[in-house]
């Protein structure tokens, strides 16, 4: 009698816990030295190349790829610990996050030897950053509607069009974009799409920041006007972009950044409130921790499945849906708990962090596939679509 969903329970590995302790030591030192200010949603909205280089020097970027390409030859489980600890600290990891998580593995699979030798060591050093090129003005949840074209020319591809909501594009060296390389086949729009790596310093690329409601400008519009990239920038199969992208999205939906992005808000509050919580707040804390522990179990279970080469798409979508809701709920629960402390006793840091948390909450349930898209994936697995 099988259960409907498959999340193995995996015990912590002592070797991984040593790595955790190292990370904690480093992050504490950096924080105490005033080298960063903790923030919620740090992996998307808090970037500091100097910090990324420090992590690169210590071997904490590119953990999963081989030494020949500047990596550490370790497993995705080790990378999980690094991401978990940096999220807990609210550290400025936004510069390298996407390249490390997503594009380096893509290059390893589809890149030329030359690209791997050139780019991967720079990513691992925390010096080379990537942006995601999926959304367009007319292609949000309806991603297959991308219109930006790549046309075959003599020595490569000529790109025209526009991408939008590209986080970190203003500081990135490359974008991997989903582009139309041939027309849709009637109503089947999933054919004719390809993934192409674009050097963002090329002529014809224009990057304009978009300011978000908090005044930050970490995402961008990126315009392409007759941008020519060489042949080998096509990653994977020509026309196979849809399958590659959906596979890639499934892999990144269950990581710790899907349920721990706001943990720094709770942690900051706990330092303020230790020993001062009233009975209602204790109940809130108990419930919150129960949800966090459960999500950790699910996310860690999937990480271990991915490590074995199994990609559970629906389970990942479930984690993202539950985790994003938890992240936003966490901020609300902390707001309620803070009433146990007179407002004049709230530290400035507490106010700053909780305000950032509130302002940065809307994109949680949007990026990487909206909640509605996640529920559609789940509904399909349940046999309802």
């Amino acid at each position: 009698m099988m259960q409907r969903f498959s999340f193995p329970v995996v015990q912590p590995d002592p070797a991984l816990e040593d790595l955790r302790a190292e990370l904690q030591g480093f992050l504490r030192e950096e924080l105490n030295a005033g080298n960063f200010r903790p923030e919620p949603e740090c992996w998307m909205a808090s970037a500091d190349p100097e910090f990324s280089k420090k992590m690169g020097t210590r071997g904490w970027i590119g953990l999963t790829w081989s030494k020949q390409y500047g990596g550490q030859g370790k497993s995705a489980l080790e990378r999980y610990i690094v991401t978990e600890e940096t999220l807990r600290a609210g550290a400025p990891v936004g510069a390298h996050w996407i390249a490390d998580r997503q594009h380096a593995p893509m290059l390893l699979e589809h890149g030329t030897e030359e690209q791997k030798l050139d780019i991967l060591p720079r990513i691992a050093a925390g010096e080379c950053y990537f942006a995601i090129g999926l959304s367009e003005p007319g292609a949000g949840s309806d991603l297959a509607n991308v219109k930006t074209r790549a046309e075959k020319v003599a020595d490569g591809w000529k790109i025209n069009g526009q991408k939008i909501w590209s986080s970190g594009a203003h500081m990135s060296h490359y974008m991997v974009a989903l582009l139309r390389t041939s027309p849709a086949d009637g109503r089947n729009r999933h054919v004719g799409l390809s993934q192409i790596m674009i050097d963002l310093s090329l002529p014809g690329v224009t990057i304009r920041p978009i300011t978000d409601l908090s005044g930050d400008a970490h995402f961008n519009e990126v315009y392409f006007e007759d941008v020519i990239v060489p042949d080998d920038c096509l990653l994977g199969e020509e026309g196979g972009g849809w399958k590659q992208v959906t596979g890639e999205l499934a892999m990144e939906r269950s990581g710790p950044e899907r349920f721990l992005s706001s943990y720094i808000t709770l942690e900051t509050a706990l330092y303020q409130l230790q020993g001062k919580l009233g009975s209602d707040s204790q109940a809130r804390l108990g419930k919150l921790v129960a949800s966090l522990r459960t999500l950790k179990g699910m996310s860690w279970g999937i990480a271990n499945l991915l490590h074995q080469g199994i990609s559970p798409e629906t389970e990942a979508a479930l984690v993202k849906d539950l985790g994003n809701r938890l992240e936003n709920d966490l901020t609300q629960q902390v707001r309620a708990m803070l009433n146990d402390l007179p407002a004049e006793e709230w530290s400035d840091e507490m106010r700053r962090i909780i305000n950032i948390g509130v302002l940065r909450s809307p994109p949680n349930t949007l990026r990487g596939g909206t909640t509605e898209v996640m529920r559609g994936i789940t509904a399909r697995q349940l046999g309802l679509r």
Binding site: V9, Q11, R20, L270, Q274, Q282, L322, R375
Partner: protein, 338 residues
Amino acid sequence: MINTEGMVAETAAKIFTDLCGREIPHQAEAGAYPQELWDALVENGLLLAWVSEDNGGFAAEPDEIFGAIWASVQAASPVPFAETLLANHMLDQAGLAPASGSASFAFSGADIPFGGQVEQIVLFDAKQGTISLFDNPADERRHVDSLSPDGATRFDPAGKAALASAKTNFTGRAFEALILTVRAVQMASAIEAALNLSIAHVSEREQFGRPLSKFQAIQHQLAVAASESAAATMAATQAASACARNGNDPAKAWHEAVIAKVQISHSVEAVTVPFHQVHGAMGYTQEYDLHHYTRRLWAWRDALGNEHHWSRLLGAELAVASPDQIWKGVTTGEWIAS
């Protein structure tokens, strides 16, 4: 994922599939006790699966026990299977022989699952540190729970002589961990069974010329319920795993067990509302099967302390723990010793 492999789990699953068809819980509620089902559980020794060989049991691995309990709830079994298993385990831990028939358990004076049915009751007395076995005479069995046929009733040991009594090394927290874990497994199983019924119903039932399952509003309600179901199973599995790893001292599994009870009890409203909503009036009838799961979920979230009770108890401990200790618990499942 709850382990459903191994002799105990597979034997139990077969018995419940063969002898607890969908008519059985209906008949049981009409007063026809499923004697054949109960006899099969007895004859196959399943009620002694969680008892050491010294006391006549066969000491199955705990994760197999939880798999057997999962199977019993899938079939909406109306017999006190999990309760007797656990009652016998509690007796065994104190070096006492198993109950002679059906049994259930409680903390002193608390509500007793299936108390209106079981022949014997095992009580843990925290003050004395003892486990005692009492008769539950037929003429004194009182069913006081309108939520569920197997729900709680009261038992007052005052003035009654125990059939057997002995000191136990297990603390109150050890028994809490075991009881809450068993309950968590039952609840996660009931949620999944009700989800499966809901999926089947919306796939068959047509309105406006198409199956309900084709409406996005329906799809999303069940997708949310499915995510809660997956989380419930995860929480129950983590608790079961902690109990299995700490068989000699389940107190060490206390946090994971409480977390499971909190997580799952909180999700009961989030799942039973859509389950009933997508079933329409059909799901509200006695004739249909949904209530075998939803009424049990409503009863189980309250019995032995509801989600608010356990959230506060857990939170009260965490409120005086350091942020480092809380983080360690969340990430590794290793909680402060207490």
